[in-house]
Symmetry: C2
Subunit: 359 residues, 2 copies
């Protein structure tokens, strides 16, 4: 595959790690990144090290991009290290990078450059269900021809995206949705594991995340996870203060177990024809006080074979592999496949399972 | 996906099971099948039950299709069951079906119908390395536009196919090679499991097959496996009589262990950019006297993550699932994906890992 020039919207945990990840890949060149206060564009390739150093500990603008609660922003935490960066007031986040400019219209600024961008990783929190679909729509309105990839989690967002499929097709956009770890990596694994069967009876996804050292970077993710707890929903989680989130974490001794999560694996597997959404269960354990995984991430797919047997195929991720690796590898992998599809003229909305061998 | 009309070349174990499998799939219509003595074509869809009943225990013509040793053919073993079929002399195999005609040019007969065939599963044994590539070439010479899928195993055949890539591209053929269980299913699993890593250090594929009840149907497969044993190669295995094969099986008490097999997983993963061919090992245990699997089929992918960890992701197939399910599900799954690629104008030679998310 030829080189892919890509942009990242959002420089929270996922956006920053995606930039870092791409430096290990010869065929991926990050050419643009933004958060709500700043935008950096270099079509010859961003200096990722400088950008990451400039935004280290300085990432809260991501949450703000999706909500009005700018008070949720973490305080800038200037790194006393080798880089001298502008990290105060309006110049926090991406704007603190020497490669960046402050802006009030970061997404529009990226869209303005999108003729020279093959793919965009949308690493924004989706605390309003239609936020990422609306971002996609803005690219379509600008007649963007390329790939959009998101790592969203919620089942209902897929429908909102599907409603816009014609708009994306018209523009020439290949939108790959739910392309992180779960949904994403594990959805793909379920689609592959299903290949032994003519009928899939159940897909059980069970994840473990140890997030001690990544906690600061992944507050948005933790907030989204809390929305899955009994008594919470996405609106309530969005309105929680950082202190309230800390209290919830404390209540669970830092180790929160989730069952029957609304993760889009269900609708993504259903729309690929693999099983009914109802046959998919997603749960897991998040430990924010340890980097050890509290449980082994496992996908178990049970089905019936054409010759009348029943069985369960399983896919397991090593406990030693970070969430960041399991999100960003697949996200950029699906991005590459999205570009391949896009270049072949396949537009519209694709889930991870649509990019696997047919079922 | 719209309906796919497909043909099967060869009605040995894999060809017959593929036909049977497809009856569980609404979007797959088998419209043609052949062995070396007969060809059956019905563009409205073959009567698979009748065809299978007619060829049951009557399959040895498959081996003959690739070799001159017609003496290797198993004796016809007429099924005393419900179907009255013509099963003697030249009328054995596919020709015994009421839907079929005897022929001396089965592959040409299928090619003559190929305008109305979306995909062809080449389920012929490849006891000469260039046999399947040459079959592909014949389709290209007839300007076939569609998909060819094979379940070949040998690494060196991939190069022979790649040498013909331009021919396939010119014709409009999407050739998906090595799309059975291994290579195929497990190659795809390795490609997916690699998504956590920026560098893959090793891929270990270990399979178990219990083939008691399927032994008669899969003599071609057993013969190919024997070629992997110390002191044997593909030429020597081809020239073995059935009695000599039985003696080898007996020598191993029916349970043969293979290590360092020349399975195309290695080159298929290398050409997809996932790891070096040398980093891939394939081995397994074949038990022809039990349907219980002698060992659990496992793919273990070890690599290094972008954030400096090492780990091993694993994919395991349930012991209760037959080889037939693990070969034919993926073969037809990759066939579907091949058709999707073909319809988008992507031609040439693709391995299973090329049809997975990019690495």
């Amino acid at each position: 595959m030829n080189n892919i020039d890509f942009a990242v919207l959002g420089t929270g945990g996922i956006g920053r790690r995606a930039l870092e990840y791409s430096t290990s890949k010869d065929d991926l060149t990050p050419v643009a990144a933004c958060d709500r206060n700043g935008v950096a564009v270099d079509h010859d390739g961003l200096d990722v090290d400088e950008l990451l150093a400039a935004t280290e500990g300085n990432i809260a603008s991501e949450a703000g991009a999706a909500s009005d609660a700018s008070g949720e922003d973490a305080d800038p935490r200037p790194d006393g290290g080798a880089t001298a960066v502008k990290q105060s007031g309006e110049m926090q986040g991406v704007a603190a990078s020497a490669q960046a400019d402050p802006t009030e219209t970061p997404i529009d600024d990226i869209i303005a450059e999108s003729d020279a961008i093959d793919a965009v990783l949308v690493a924004l929190p989706n605390l309003e269900h239609d936020f990422i679909p609306r971002v996609g729509e803005r690219f379509a309105e600008a007649d963007y021809e390329g790939v959009l990839v998101d790592v969203l989690k919620r089942s209902r967002v897929i429908d909102i995206l599907d409603d816009r499929a014609a708009t994306f097709e018209e523009s020439g956009i290949t939108f790959v949705c739910g392309a992180g770890a779960t949904p994403g990596f594990l959805t793909g694994a379920a689609a592959l594991a299903a290949q032994s069967f003519v009928e899939v009876e159940s897909v059980d996804i069970w994840w473990g995340v140890g997030l001690k050292s990544g906690y600061e970077d992944n507050r948005g993710t933790v907030r989204e996870d809390i929305a899955h707890l009994d008594g919470y929903d996405i609106e309530r989680a969005r309105d929680l203060t950082d202190e309230e989130i800390e209290a919830i974490v404390e209540e669970h001794d830092g180790r929160i177990e989730f069952t029957d999560m609304e993760h889009a694996d269900d609708v993504l597997l259903e729309r690929a024809g693999i099983c009914d959404a109802d046959d998919v269960t997603v749960g897991g354990i998040l430990d924010v006080r340890s980097d050890e995984k509290p449980t082994t991430t496992t996908v178990a797919v049970t089905g019936r074979t054409f010759d009348g047997e029943r069985g369960t195929n399983t896919f397991q991720l090593d406990d030693d592999i970070s969430m960041a690796a399991n999100v960003n590898g697949p996200a950029l992998g699906y991005l590459k496949t999205g570009v391949q599809r896009n270049r072949a003229g396949e537009y519209g909305v694709f889930g991870p399972a649509d990019l696997m061998p047919g079922f």
